[in-house]
């Protein structure tokens, strides 16, 4: 078995000229900094993980982790890179904290260990010196500084919140004396996670569990080369608070300190303690590693989500926001960019035009006194027209006229179009406007040859705040969103120009034809946009929602597809570019631009929030953003180029993965769906290039939000498979007794599948005890029996072979019940049919048909596997006709029970051997692995029964919990455990005898292994295993299946 791909915690990154080195698991990855391309991988520290990479002179590299050390010479020549291992991998008895090359010789390396001792190690002569510090305690962090043995100084970060400074000079080669502690730095309240010393600035920087970073100044009197560490004065200069969790590492460069924490944040500080920037770099995940490129331009981070990102390191906020100058006693109301880039500011009845930021005075004043006390302003989509609306129903239109260098606004028309105040308006196209008057009265008007022509009139259903905040036109549909978070669809006319009066009337309707009440919560819809045949709405609930525009019988309607949670509080807008879709929005005081393709924030601008008027324009790779703050108008120009530093490694789940299931696996594609602690479902594909030893790569196709707690289990039901597409129902369950059902369609018309080949519909979310809001209501009304802590541990989906509309969902619950839901595919309705009380936490469930009978297996924390015959009960439940919960199943008992384990059964697999005979394998919390052959038969009285024909077990194959088991082919079994072992076993069942033999073992670099999944094969017919836990690893088994 060979590891082909790994995505897990990135514990070490290092910049080496134009390359970035990263340690993922035991594999050293080498990326090109500018192209982002993975150049090479080296299996370095197996079976330990890489925790650090250190650079010596002439690109000499030490890679270390846990107790293993490897060294390499990197020969970089233009575009090629050659790597030669210096000496064989070295294994120590102790945990390595830090490694340092002695640059004066470059073949001596010093290694600091967790027991506070130092090895000085000549890599060629294999000669070493071991010096122990007097203070014997476990180190969590530390570093070594110095270029030769004489000036080596050790900074040890202890679990007793102290940093110790010691040297080895006082210790003779052969003496057993211990090095004494020269200085103790006390200033933290928690474990010291890292200590670095910057010899250039003579600054010591410590990070700690207490969420702080401290800077210490080493006071040397002159430019003396040697520092007498015993007598030198070291003062704590600065303590910095900015992280919300443990601070893990920090790097000091000139006058900048960059710290990373377990709160996903990068904090950039000046050395005098000023916070310059805070970046949420790996959302939801810890950041484990950091380096800064040699040109001090770029920060590289590696996270617990497996991602490696590059970030621009801006020194003193290079971009200065420019304040537009105008009379400061007045309050600017609206701002915007015209098509030419000219800036328009509306201020108390005047429109001011600024050609560019250097203008001291506006180029043009336009007085519009009618709009001085109240004004709504909107720019047309092409930014050529400016519409102003007044409190007495007037509409004023100006057009941008460009003559050479000169830009002017010319009024083209003004007319009273409404009897009431115009509360809001939105452009539907470059010549159509939607106006919203009092009580939700809507009016569509068209501008035709400088005339305003009224079109249709509509009305919003009565609500608290009857005002549109977003609108878009799609053919003859007008879709708008309101302040209360609802979306309405109106039938209107496309245009009077190509529509006869009668035809118009037939399609037109005053009332909405379709309504999605409060779909964006109660905070309001911010925008609606059409991309392709989909509608995207953005709202103040921090989500983007996707809808499909369906056409049936000539009628158009909207179907909700899915929602995506954005890393912002308010989502304002989407901006389509050639290759990407940007999402604009606000989080607290920041304006945020998020890339849908890169799935990360591109740009953050601190602007004070999104309450006031702002505008954002994208032109020539530049983002122009204008906003109002403290009665001033600010303009920000940002090149997107620096924000587009290539991603070196894409991220995956931010936390543990609990389930990975195969969605589609054939010779061309391997598509999986995964869920975990971070409450998301992810659809991803693994690709293997055709050449033999090529590296696998993975591609996240979609991320589904919507679970409010962790996802523990995923069940897949294939509903349709053709050459062109594959359609599946996904049932996902987990914490807070939540069950979600989604439909995922994969279109197979291309060789390499991308995000656009996947479409996902979130069909429903079901919560056993209702949503929090519903529960709160029930408290007020009456009794409060609720157990919101129930977790759905496992799900098995069973489609009725006769009535294919009907799907039974068997859900193993942590409160000791097996719950049975009935889901109707056609009506998309779910009902809790009944539940069976077991009284121990159920961990696993499986359902299958045995001679047209439905049998369900359950496994619990008591180590017992139970066989339930459920056909009669299910008939009863269905006969109960979807009306009521059947409360009559307490007396049902399993027809067979086998105690296979001392405690919880964490993994199993099940398959038919021959008629009536089944193979079952289980793995437990008690290290035991069972393989049993079970016969299911009828007793003379006709009742079902089961017996074990043959049994094999082992408690020594794994030394810990067994968390994953999978049968493969006719005679293979794979197992995985928290001991990180992946074992392939070969079994044979012959004449009642079960023979099992261990075939091969590999250690995975995935900690906290939760299970494994198999994919059929690649093109060569090898087996591909996906092992998951904290990250995932793809392992190929080359031994052929029989």
């Amino acid at each position: 078995m060979i590891s082909k791909f790994i995505s897990t915690d990135v514990l070490a990154v290092l910049c080496l000229e134009d390359y970035i080195l990263a340690g993922i698991g035991c594999t050293l990855h080498i990326y090109s900094r500018f192209s982002g391309e993975l150049k090479e991988t080296i299996n370095a520290t197996y079976p330990d993980k890489i925790h650090g990479i250190t650079k010596g002179l002439c690109n000499r590299i030490a890679v270390y982790g846990a107790k293993t050390l490897c060294t390499y010479d990197f020969i970089i020549h233009n575009d090629t890179i050659q790597i030669a291992q210096l000496f064989e991998t070295h294994r120590f008895m102790d945990w390595i904290i830090s490694v340092n090359w002695l640059q004066k010789t470059n073949d001596v390396i010093s290694v600091l260990f967790a027991h506070n001792n130092l090895y000085v190690f000549n890599v060629f002569e294999k000669h070493y010196k071991d010096v122990k510090c007097v203070e014997r305690c476990i180190l969590y962090g530390g570093s070594i500084s110095g270029t030769c043995i004489e000036d080596l100084v050790i900074f040890s970060g202890t679990l007793f919140s102290e940093t110790l400074i010691w040297t080895i000079r006082s210790c003779n080669e052969d003496s057993k004396t211990r090095a004494s502690v020269l200085q103790r730095l006390k200033g933290h309240n928690g474990v010291i996670s890292s200590v670095t010393y910057d010899a250039f600035t003579k600054t010591i920087c410590c990070t700690s569990d207490d969420r702080t970073i401290t800077l210490w100044k080493v006071k040397t009197t002159s430019k003396e080369h040697f520092i007498n560490w015993k007598s030198v004065e070291i003062t704590l200069t600065t303590t910095m608070y900015g992280h919300n969790d443990k601070v893990w590492r920090a790097v000091v460069r000139e006058n900048i300190v960059v710290s990373i924490g377990q709160d996903s944040l990068i904090c950039v500080w000046s050395t005098d303690g000023k916070l310059l920037n805070k970046i949420e770099a790996h959302p939801g995940a810890c950041i484990w590693s950091i380096d800064i490129t040699e040109d001090n331009n770029t920060i590289i981070t590696g996270g617990g989500d497996g991602a490696i990102y590059q970030w621009p390191l801006e020194h003193n906020n290079v971009e200065v926001d420019i304040v537009l100058k105008y009379d400061k006693t007045r309050i600017p109301k609206h701002v915007g960019f015209l098509n030419s880039g000219t800036i328009l500011i509306f201020i108390e009845g005047r429109m001011l035009l600024y050609r560019n930021k250097a203008d001291d005075y506006p180029r043009q004043f336009i007085n519009v006194p009618k709009y001085s006390s109240y004004c709504v302003m909107q720019l047309s989509p092409s930014r050529e027209y400016v519409a102003l609306a007044s409190k007495d129903g007037f509409l004023n239109l100006h057009k941008e006229i460009i003559e050479g260098d000169d830009v002017q606004l010319k009024q083209i028309v003004e007319k009273k179009v409404m009897d009431s105040k115009i509360f809001s308006m939105r452009w539907l196209s470059n010549n159509t406007l939607l106006l919203c008057g009092v009580k939700g009265n809507l009016k569509i008007i068209e501008i035709s040859s400088n005339e305003i022509v009224s079109q249709t009139e509509h009305i919003l259903p009565p609500s608290r705040d009857c005002q549109i905040t977003a609108a878009v036109m799609y053919k003859s549909l007008m879709i708008c969103g309101d302040r209360a978070g609802s979306i309405y669809i109106f039938k209107t006319v496309e245009s009077t120009l190509n529509c006869t009066k009668t035809a118009c009337k037939s399609t037109y309707a005053r009332e909405p034809v379709q309504t999605f009440p409060k779909i964006h919560g109660s905070l309001g819809v911010q925008s609606c946009a059409i991309i392709g045949t989909n509608l995207i709405s953005a709202g103040r609930d921090g989500t983007l929602r996707f809808y499909e525009l369906l056409k049936s019988d000539g009628d158009m309607s909207l179907r909700v597809l899915c929602e995506k949670r954005m890393p912002m509080d308010w989502v304002s807008n989407t901006l389509k570019t050639d290759t990407d879709t940007f999402v604009l929005g606000f989080k607290e005081v920041e304006f945020i631009i998020y890339s849908m393709v890169l799935r990360r924030i591109l740009l953050r601008i601190s602007c004070g929030g999104g309450h006031r008027s702002w505008d954002c324009k994208l032109a020539n790779g530049c983002i122009k953003f204008i906003y109002i703050r403290d009665k001033q108008v600010y303009l920000v120009n940002r090149s997107l180029h620096s924000e587009f530093l290539p991603i070196l490694q894409n991220g995956f789940h931010a936390k543990e993965i609990y389930s990975v299931q195969r969605l589609l696996s054939n010779s061309d594609h391997n598509i999986f769906i995964s869920g975990g602690e971070d409450c998301t479902l992810r659809i991803f594909s693994m690709t293997e290039s055709t050449s033999d030893n090529a590296i696998c790569d993975f591609n996240t196709l979609d991320v589904l939000d919507g679970h409010i707690s962790s996802v523990k289990s995923i069940a897949i039901l294939n509903t349709k498979n053709t050459n062109m597409f594959s359609r599946n129902l996904i049932f996902s369950g987990g914490g807070r007794a939540q069950l979600r059902i989604s439909e995922i369609t994969v279109r197979l018309n291309r060789e390499v599948l991308g995000s656009e080949d996947i479409s996902c519909v979130q069909l429903m979310s079901h919560m056993l005890w209702g949503t929090d809001q519903q529960r709160r209501k029930s408290v007020q009304s009456q009794q409060y029996y609720v157990d919101p802590e129930t977790r759905y541990m496992d799900i098995s989906a069973y489609q009725d072979p006769v009535d294919k509309e009907q799907v039974f969902l068997f859900v193993a619950c942590s409160d000791g019940y097996l719950r049975i839901f009935i889901y109707n595919i056609i009506t998309d309705a779910i009902l809790l049919g009944t539940s069976i009380r077991y009284n121990r936490c159920l961990l696993k469930v499986h359902s299958f048909t045995h001679r047209e009978k439905i049998i369900v297996l359950t496994m619990a924390t008591d180590g017992i596997i139970n066989f339930w015959y459920l056909s009669p009960l299910l008939t009863q439940v269905v006969d109960n006709t979807y009306k009521n919960y059947l409360d009559n199943s307490q007396n049902i008992t399993p027809f067979a029970s086998f105690k296979l384990h001392q405690s919880g059964i964490n993994s199993f697999d099940f398959k038919i051997s021959t008629e009536n005979v089944y193979l079952l394998t289980t793995g437990g919390d008690d290290n035991a692995l069972n393989l049993i052959v079970v016969e299911v038969f009828n007793l003379p009285n006709g009742e079902l029964s089961a017996k074990i024909i043959s049994k094999w077990n082992s408690s020594s194959i794994h030394s810990t919990q067994i968390t994953g088991l999978k049968f493969h082919g006719t005679n293979k079994l794979y197992s995985s455990g928290t001991d990180q072992k992946i074992i392939s076993l070969v079994y044979s069942f012959d004449k009642q005898n079960l023979l099992v033999r261990e075939q091969s073992t590999i250690l995975t670099m995935i900690p906290d292994v939760q299970g494994l999944t198999l994919c059929n094969t690649n093109r060569n017919g090898d087996t591909l295993l996906c092992v998951y836990g904290k990250g995932f690893e793809m392992i190929t088994d080359y031994s052929k299946v029989q």
């Binding site: 008895m93 003062t235 608070y241 929030g609 964490n906 001991d979």
Partner: protein, 362 residues
């Protein structure tokens, strides 16, 4: 998080409060004793890394109870229980407390003094280190803690005595098993049913202390160094971990993975305050400072910096400078409360930290 949230989630946590235990881990020791009878005949017991003291409490209750029962029938000795921890602990009846470092030989001498220079019958250790979140490192540090406990145990445990300690069942656990086997005739791994199924935590039960010939007490590190490079290296495959695994606690006892309704077994639920308040976390000062200065550090541009002008590095901080640009801003977006923020916490995962009550620093 709701006040009753944890009560709903964990039956042992709820019971610990009801029965006055300082932490739910008390049940783990009781269940181990039910299975292994580690307390039989014990008159001198040591609890290492004892804070907040639930194991000492369990030892005290059981040993004194046995003693009382014995007194009715025959002669018996009053048990002596010593709890050792770096930090001070609220006093416990029938338990002698020593505030000391288990890696220090002087601590061993102090313990033996209380036993009138006799050695202990039983040494237990439920200590767990500060976790980093890196599984391999946390597992390493836990194993080092276990070896430190073993080292002091070799100084204070009588021959034939029992040693019980927390162990993480993960990669390389078999190496630890082998090392323990050198010192004890019977070694097995136990998982009480009060410990969660998903947790990698287990307990090593080492009976019949019989140190190898030539072993010098308190020299465990150098002994193991030699052992690892010679004996251990030659032990491969199956020989490395034939250690029985035993689940303690029968099916009548509640299941720590199951969520039980609050009104359970006919008893009306009543909320109990924790017996012992959690030890203050390392970040307590950061939280207190942010509160005092009214700075929400979660905000994108919020920070606090303390400039230290005093010349000595031990001196206390002064000159607080608050740099919160957000303060002047009139507009702030509403703080949307995430639905899962309120009463949701991921329930069970890689269960290194169970709760602060359960947990303490070595």
């Amino acid at each position: 998080m709701g006040k009753t949230s944890k009560d709903k989630r964990d039956i042992y946590y709820r019971r610990a409060k009801e029965e006055g235990w300082r932490a739910r881990s008390a049940f783990k020791l009781l269940q181990i004793d039910d299975e292994y009878h580690i307390l039989d005949g014990v008159t001198k017991a040591v609890d290492l890394c004892a804070a907040p003291g639930s194991w000492s409490q369990a030892l005290s209750r059981r040993l004194h109870e046995t003693c009382k029962n014995d007194k009715k029938t025959a002669e018996s000795v009053n048990p002596i229980i010593i709890a050792v921890d770096l930090q001070a602990m609220a006093p416990l009846e029938g338990v002698i407390q020593i505030q000391g470092d288990i890696t220090n030989a002087a601590t061993a001498e102090e313990i033996l003094k209380y036993f009138a220079n006799e050695q202990a019958d039983l040494v237990v250790c439920d200590g767990a280190p500060d976790v980093t979140g890196l599984h391999d490192m946390d597992i390493f540090i836990q194993s080092e803690l276990l070896l430190a406990a073993l080292n002091i145990t070799t100084l204070i445990l009588r021959s034939g005595g029992t040693f019980v300690a927390k162990i993480f069942r993960a990669k390389d656990v078999s190496t630890l098993y082998c090392q323990l086997k050198v010192f004890f005739a019977e070694v097995s791994c136990a998982k009480p049913s009060s410990s969660r199924n998903s947790s990698i935590e287990a307990f090593i039960i080492c009976k019949n202390y019989s140190p190898p010939e030539g072993y010098v007490p308190n020299e465990l590190a150098s002994f193991l160094e030699k052992y690892n490079s010679t004996k251990l290296a030659s032990l491969t495959g199956i020989n490395r971990y034939v250690i029985p695994f035993v689940v303690c606690g029968d099916l009548d006892q509640p299941d720590s993975d199951t969520c039980y309704p609050l009104n359970f077994e006919g008893k009306e639920y009543k909320y109990h305050e924790p017996t012992q308040l959690p030890i203050s976390p390392p970040y307590a000062e950061a939280i207190a400072l942010a509160e005092k200065e009214n700075v929400n550090l979660k905000k994108a541009d919020a920070s606090i910096v303390i400039h230290n002008t005093a010349s000595k590095c031990e001196s206390s901080p002064c000159n607080k400078q608050i740099t919160e640009e957000a303060k002047n801003d009139l507009a702030t977006t509403p703080n949307r409360k995430k639905e899962d923020e309120e009463d949701e916490g991921p329930i069970e995962k890689f269960d290194l930290v169970e709760s602060f009550v359960d947990f303490h620093i070595m």
